[in-house]
Point group: C2
Chain length 340, copies 2
């Protein structure tokens, strides 16, 4: 079985290839690593020897020696939220072609877990993309000492590249639309305003009511501490369970989980949409056009949000001293049947 000449079972290293190719360690390293100058002849010899031995570069060693890992970390609230799934895809689409690998972590919208994720990721990546759970939270205090871009949400007092959408304006537009349709009692179903984007949507909602000369009734603001469809359902049930005469005739849901909850609650209560309850959602998502009636929504460019964040990170990686850039993406109200 044994010819008595095999190497150890583990992967061949640059030194092994160099020996086999009959060149110096440095030459082999250069040819294999694709840097510096190597003559065509030497390169050919090294490549042949490399292929023969089945050489494969050790990225960990390369990272330690070069100081760059060629990977980036992404911390999202919950990868099961289609919003973040799409964002991740956008990020991957711009970073992978540049040779970066994506490291993913879920924060579960919890600043403590977010902090742990940042800590676990910081030394293994060249840069970090974070959708901060709370605007006062971990992302600010955890300075990873690496390029960082904030995604979808900003953090008070943190001077970092940031991509968001026009949350307040989008929310305002949604509510204006409801006002135009004749609604006077307009509620909102939202998660606790931990994230800046949610906070801004709430602000946009209130601003639009005020601008229309309408009352702002705390009883119309259903807040769930849980960032889940069932949490949203419970909150919506409380809001919509009010006696008909005091009940809101329209509701604005601040994100796709909230919309899901509203939809469940309306069905449970037997409220006819849009006749008994008009609905406008923030964030478009597949099923909004699959249900009947289809749901009116503030569409945000989710994939582009991820892409742009990726681009910002790429730029900062290339140019660490560049001026902080804050990109704000527009939204669009797409009117469908649920708003009457």
């Amino acid at each position: 079985m044994s010819t008595g000449r095999e190497r150890a079972a583990s992967s061949p290293t640059v030194a092994d290839v160099a020996k086999a190719a009959g060149v110096s360690f440095a030459t082999a390293a250069r040819a294999l690593g694709g840097y510096g100058h190597v003559s065509a002849k030497a390169r050919a010899a090294v490549e042949a020897a490399g292929a023969e031995l089945g050489y494969r570069r050790n990225d960990v060693a390369r990272a330690l020696a070069s100081g760059s890992t060629r990977s980036v970390g992404l911390v999202v609230g919950d990868i099961e939220n289609p919003f973040f799934a799409t964002v991740s895809r956008g990020v991957a689409d711009v970073l992978e072609p540049e040779g970066y690998t994506l490291l993913l972590a879920n924060s579960d919208e919890d600043p403590a877990r977010e902090a742990r994720a940042i800590e676990a990721l910081r030394t293994q990546v060249d840069g970090l993309l974070i959708a901060p759970a709370a605007s006062a939270g971990a992302a600010r205090t955890q300075d990873p000492g690496k390029p960082l871009v904030l995604l979808d949400r900003s953090v008070n007092g943190l001077e970092a590249d940031c991509v968001t959408v026009e949350n307040a304006a989008g929310a305002t537009r949604a509510v204006e639309h409801l006002v135009e349709r004749g609604h006077r009692r307009i509620g909102i179903v939202t998660s606790g305003a931990g994230s800046s984007s949610t906070a801004q949507r709430i602000r946009g909602y209130r601003g639009a009511l005020k601008a229309a000369g309408l009352e702002i009734d705390p009883a119309w603001e259903a807040v769930t501490p849980e960032f889940t469809p069932t949490g949203a359902r419970d909150a919506a049930l409380r809001l919509l369970g009010a006696p008909k005469r005091r009940r809101v005739t329209a509701v604005f849901a601040t994100d796709n989980f909230m919309t899901h909850g509203v939809w469940l609650a309306a069905r449970e209560l037997g409220l006819k949409v849009p006749d008994e309850l008009a609905v406008v959602a923030f964030d478009d998502i597949d099923w909004l056009t699959l249900v009947d009636p289809q749901v009116t929504a503030v569409v945000q460019p989710v994939m582009e949000l991820g892409r742009e964040a990726g681009r910002l990170l790429l730029r900062r990686l290339a140019e660490p001293g560049a001026k902080v850039r804050r990109v704000r993406l527009g939204t669009e109200l797409v009117v469908r049947a649920s708003s009457g």
Copy 2:
């Protein structure tokens, strides 16, 4: 500004902490790294110095020295597919508590991209989880030389730990249900059978028809090469656009993208579900209970699939020589309104 005593701006290393704590390099390394024996006194000194200087372990260096990265790679078809999003979450849920970081890559169901992803990940991880794009593809030829577990799909001739669901049985049950409801012309909307799970579902469909003594008509099998809802819609349109007399009265969709396509096509053609068309889906997904009528589905334990895969990898990491284990998870048919 300068007291003339600061260190370089970069992160402090074990050596810096050792010096500050007045102990040897090795002692500091042990205390900081949490291994070996260190006296309480020395540990306290090191910890104080570490906190003072803001020491943070460099995981890349640790990985190179120890040979273990404490991270694992996950290659999925498309993180935007809710199925994979949930799987990822399941994997993360079991691996993160063990201190592993998750590296994510999308293969876009393309063996070539899958191969590239495996290659990019292999040296940076302790183990790999892969949902192989094709049963003949990359996962087999790319031997990463690291523990590997197959997720949701198996690969012919690859002796590796594997978690799947009972695809054929689930599909058979779905079709039997349709037969019980009196259907005789039952179609299928599916992606090309690149993956083992899809292939098995198609097999289950055919098997059930045969067992019921029904015809197996190739014209009833709508196949899309694209693994997307729009691809599925196009295929479904062709299937359902047939003249009424020859048209199928029921359709089985092999996964959630296919179901989405069927739903779109049925609406476009104005087919009333379930009266003019009964629908059964493989894989339950949120919106199936949000639409009207609600969709009957073969429910698979998606989160558990991810968790179990994570557990298998953990086991193999701990015990590399263990016997290959193949886990098969059960499914359950949940009857709702779409099947009549």
